[in-house]
């Protein structure tokens, strides 16, 4: 019987529609640019962007090549993200187990949560400078909350009988956290890490747009000041690709963990 959606498509049909969609997208884009409806300086053709992308891999722009800027952004991201996970996951587990800690941390966390991560930029620059410390704080501000929330929820909703069984056998607090709560909330933690990675990567780009002298965000600002739309778009593509790779890597870890039977 019919559910939603009403009609079913064969795989071939779906691919055909998808191809049409993508061709339409690039076609309209090219047409707008080639026909002069939008000046080429503001909307370069997809081909221009692709060739600029290749060019940026070998010619330095704003002091370094595209991959060097990406590498420096990625280093910042990795530090901030790992810091977020290193604080968020243990704290989430502890809050899931010790009620007092939950009651103390939650109101503070809730008060801070509504500050957009990017609003930390001025303090981050003031406290840690604009080199690596400042951006790390901003990535942390983006990546930490989902880690904490997901770990906490995972730990909080572990089935009672599992915990009671462990307690009945006289398991201590530490071992319950490490051997019951942690394995049982792995799926939730990894889902949180994926959200964290996305928000952290995005916060980093924002931070680099405002304060930084290297990295892809800085590169985009320079390109924007030079009115080089093709460069801005190439960097956007590069940022999207790296973001995608990070997500693919985490998904791969998720699948690996699931296969080992933790989740």
């Amino acid at each position: 019987m019919s559910g939603v959606p009403a009609q079913r498509l064969t795989r071939l049909d779906a691919m055909a529609y998808g191809t049409v969609g993508v061709i339409l997208f690039f076609g309209i884009w090219s047409l707008l640019s080639l026909s002069g409806a939008v000046p080429k300086q503001f909307l370069p053709t997809p081909y221009d962007v692709a060739s600029r992308f290749v060019q940026l891999l070998s010619t330095p722009f704003a002091g370094a090549t595209l991959q060097q800027h990406l590498a420096s952004s990625f280093m910042r991201f990795a530090y901030g993200f790992l810091l977020g996970a290193a604080v968020g996951i243990p704290l989430g587990l502890l809050m899931g187990w010790f009620r007092v800690l939950d009651e103390i941390v939650s109101p503070v966390f809730d008060a801070l949560r509504f500050i957009a991560p990017i609003a930390w930029v001025p303090f981050a620059a003031l406290w840690f400078g604009t080199g690596i410390g400042g951006p790390i704080l901003i990535i942390f501000a983006g990546a930490f909350p989902p880690c904490l929330i997901n770990t906490y929820r995972g730990a909080r909703f572990v089935s009672r009988p599992l915990i009671e069984a462990a307690q009945m056998l006289g398991t201590g607090n530490l071992r319950i956290i490490l051997e019951v709560l942690l394995p049982a909330s792995t799926a939730s933690i990894i889902a949180g890490l994926r959200i964290s990675a996305g928000l952290g990567w995005q916060s980093l780009i924002g931070a680099e747009l405002i304060v930084a002298s290297t990295g892809v965000g800085f590169m985009m600002v320079q390109a924007q000041l030079n009115m080089s739309t093709a460069t801005v778009m190439s960097v956007m593509v590069a940022i999207g690709l790296v973001g995608l790779l990070i997500d693919v890597a985490l998904r791969w870890i998720e699948a690996a963990v699931r296969q080992r039977g933790f989740a």
Binding site: M1, S2, G3, V4, P5, A6, Q7, L9, D13, A14, M15, Y17, G18, T19, V20, G21, V22, L24, F25, F42, V100, E103, S106, P107, V108, A111, L112, F114, I115, A116, P117, I118, A119, V121, P122, F123, A125, L126, W201, Q202, S203, I205, G206, L209, I210, G217, V221, A223, Q224, M227, T229, V232, M233, M236, I239, G240, L241, G243, L244, D247
Partner: protein, 258 residues
Amino acid sequence: MSRRFVIGLTTIVALAALWYVATIPLALISPGRFPSPVDVWISFRQVAFAGYANGLLYQHVLHSLKLVVFGFLVAAGTGVPLGLLMGWSRRAEALINPVFLLIRPIPPLAWIPLAILWLGIGDAAKIMVIWFAAFVPSVINSFTGVRTIEPSIIEAAHMLGTPRYRFITEVLIPASAPMIFTGLRLSLQASWTTLVAAELVGALYGLGRILNVAQQDIYPGMIFVGMACVAVLGWATTRLLAEFETFSLPWIQMAREY
């Protein structure tokens, strides 16, 4: 009063006291790094009554609020219908989804330089960036909302010969409404983040402008006031949306009250 409330309140009061003691009597934290409560109060009075960064506090707040609300409404007004359409029709999904997947990995904040190139640092650029940022969660969640409707509900509607228009307004939208609201909440958060970032990069008014000028002036008290305003507005608009959700979905509320 619940135990949770008492402990929470105690923590907040203790932190506030600690903040006061560490900044003023003991001077553990230098005023150039983090403001004391008195600094914050002075900064607040300055921006509220004398003005800072081109305007009074209420002007900045209204300006930011206007852009967020407008951008959010544009995003929700386009994103939710698109998501519903993609959920309803496999053809629409097959046509649009690949393009959507191509663009989606680009974080919303990465659109800011392009928006400035195209539209300058005025309101139009901000609305464009907010639209791009808030669009994605609206689409995804509306789409998921439609796809997770129980088939039996749809079959019942079909069996009773519900006409298409009534099917959409009385089955499709109400049944996916909880997911739509989840999407809207995420969209709203994305709107605030993006607006603050866009205003930090370049603006004449707004909360991001306050933060930007305060950063250049190395003025911790004003940075604090700017951040507090961002938090309060983010909280208030989220709250408003939640109220609207309970108001428009009374049946969900009844199911929750057990």
